[in-house]
């Protein structure tokens, strides 16, 4: 790990100014940044520690929305009774992520910005070619071991998956990322790799995530997060789904449904075609199974990750049927 200087920020403005300097990087929980510094991927000149800033770790829930400060720890949000009640998928996506220790360290802002677990990206010494690290250098994953790589949203330049869980739930419920005054819909905050896989988010150097807000809805209140993985815990998703459901008064017809996928795409993936196929319909297992397949239209696999094309629709189906009381 390259040496760096340490700056403890005492105000958000000080943090913004310091973070705006080329070579400087914001340090929150450190569970992504220090990990990547040890891999030699992140090479900050100065780390700007924002964890001592006051007033950025609040969690407030009312009838209209949840507002979560960027410095709130994953564990604090996962364990928050009002979040568990009004946004169960959000609480579950956090409780099923990483480990208890990491959840005590990691912040909500840092969580959104976590980097891909593509093993070629993480190993610069052995695999110099990586368009995400060095635009134009090529992609070492193509033709390599791709079991954990994305099947949706990929490009010729990069097939790295977005590994996070929380953002999947946030995309399902139309959350908003607050960068001080500026607000960006979370779905737009995450960008597709296209020809610029090095550019992952719609934000500029020197901007600081200050909060995330999630609009309250009946679908968010009746929601769940299902995560399937190679081992039962402390593992990233092979495929995951956040699903929220609102039924008509008849108790069987879908009024509103939100579906997003994790573990299979280059960004948290909203499954709008599946939602459209279910709205207004009477929930019924065969219909849900068929509709879930729509999410994989246009999917491209690279051999070892082909299983995700079969797995992800099944995870959606399971989550929808569970919310509909049919499983």
């Amino acid at each position: 790990m390259k040496n760096f200087s340490y700056l403890r920020a005492h105000s958000a403005d000080e943090a913004r100014k310091a973070a705006a300097l080329a070579g400087n990087m914001v340090l929150a929980g450190g569970t992504t940044l220090l990990d990547l510094a040890k891999c030699g991927i992140a090479e900050p000149d100065t780390v700007v520690d924002i964890t001592h800033l006051a007033g950025l770790d609040g969690i407030e829930v009312d009838e209209t929305q949840a507002s979560i400060g960027a410095l709130a720890r994953m564990s604090a949000v996962a364990d928050h009774p009002a979040i568990q009640k009004a946004f169960p998928a959000v609480a579950e996506s956090l409780a099923l992520a990483a480990s208890a220790q990491i959840r005590n360290m990691a912040t909500i802002g840092g969580n959104l910005l976590q980097r891909t677990r593509c093993s070629y990206f993480r190993d610069a010494a052995v695999f110099p070619a990586c368009n995400k690290r060095h635009p134009g250098s090529g992609c070492s994953a193509l033709g390599g071991v791709t079991r954990n790589h994305a099947v949706l949203g990929t490009s010729d330049a990069c097939i790295a998956g977005y590994p996070g869980d929380l953002a999947v739930a946030l995309v399902a419920f139309d959350a908003i990322v607050h960068l001080g005054e500026r607000q960006v819909a979370v779905d737009d905050f995450f960008q597709l790799p296209g020809n610029t896989p090095d550019r992952e988010h719609a934000f500029e150097r020197g901007e600081i995530i200050t909060a995330v807000t999630i609009p309250a809805s009946a679908a968010a209140r009746r929601s769940t997060y299902i995560k399937v993985r190679d081992r039962q815990s402390y593992e990233f998703a092979a495929a995951s789904a956040a699903v929220g459901l609102e039924l008509e008064a008849d108790g069987t017809t879908v009024r509103d449904i939100r579906i997003a996928l994790g573990g299979v795409a280059t960004k948290p993936w909203r499954a709008r075609t599946v939602e459209a196929a279910l709205i207004g319909k009477v929930l019924e297992p065969e219909l849900v199974r068929k509709a879930s397949l729509l999410v994989m239209e246009g999917a491209i696999d690279h051999g070892a990750n082909h299983y995700k094309i079969d797995l992800a629709p099944r995870v959606i189906t399971r989550a929808v049927l569970k919310m509909g009381g049919l499983a």
Partner: protein, 158 residues
């Protein structure tokens, strides 16, 4: 450009001064600079839990924490767990009683994690214990005895 910085860390109730490079993790500060080698280095990348310590009473990974970041916070390591009269912490006793280790390398991390897990109340069933202790790997596979030790210590504490 960076040199060393002077830090004053509150470790196991004692104030300790050290001069380290800013990149030094809490884990290396403990082991290499303060002779507190009870906290173990397994993966050094957040994947095993061997380096688990408490910061302000919460379990965290010392390998992904900068020493500079926790200046002003209360740090507890395995050395500071027992109350100092030579006796063991009840969770340490439970690990001994249940043979909850083989080589012992993961054990300080397991115990620090277990103390926090019990304090958090995540011990309502064996499955809950397994889930909330999943951040501590044991290469020797002592898991079933670890769960038994945590369960017993949790029952004794309640």
């Amino acid at each position: 450009m960076t040199g060393t910085i002077n830090l004053k860390l509150d470790i196991n109730g004692r104030s300790r001064e050290l001069a380290v490079e800013p990149r030094v993790t809490l884990l290396d500060a403990l082991r290499e600079h303060l002779d507190l080698t009870g906290t173990k280095k397994g993966c050094d990348q957040g994947q095993c839990g061997a380096c688990t310590v408490h910061v302000d009473g919460k379990r965290v990974l010392a390998c992904l924490t900068l020493a500079a970041q926790v200046e002003g916070r209360a740090i507890t390591t395995i050395e500071g767990l027992a109350d100092g009269d030579g006796g063991l912490h009840p969770v340490q006793s439970a690990f001994l009683e249940h043979d909850a280790f083989q080589c012992g390398y993961c054990t300080p991390g397991q115990i620090m994690s277990a103390v926090a897990c019990i304090r958090e109340g995540h011990t309502k069933s064996d499955n809950e214990i397994r889930e909330y202790m999943s951040g501590n790997l044991c290469r020797c596979g002592a898991y079933s005895h670890i769960v038994a030790a945590v369960r017993e210590a949790a029952e004794a504490a309640s």
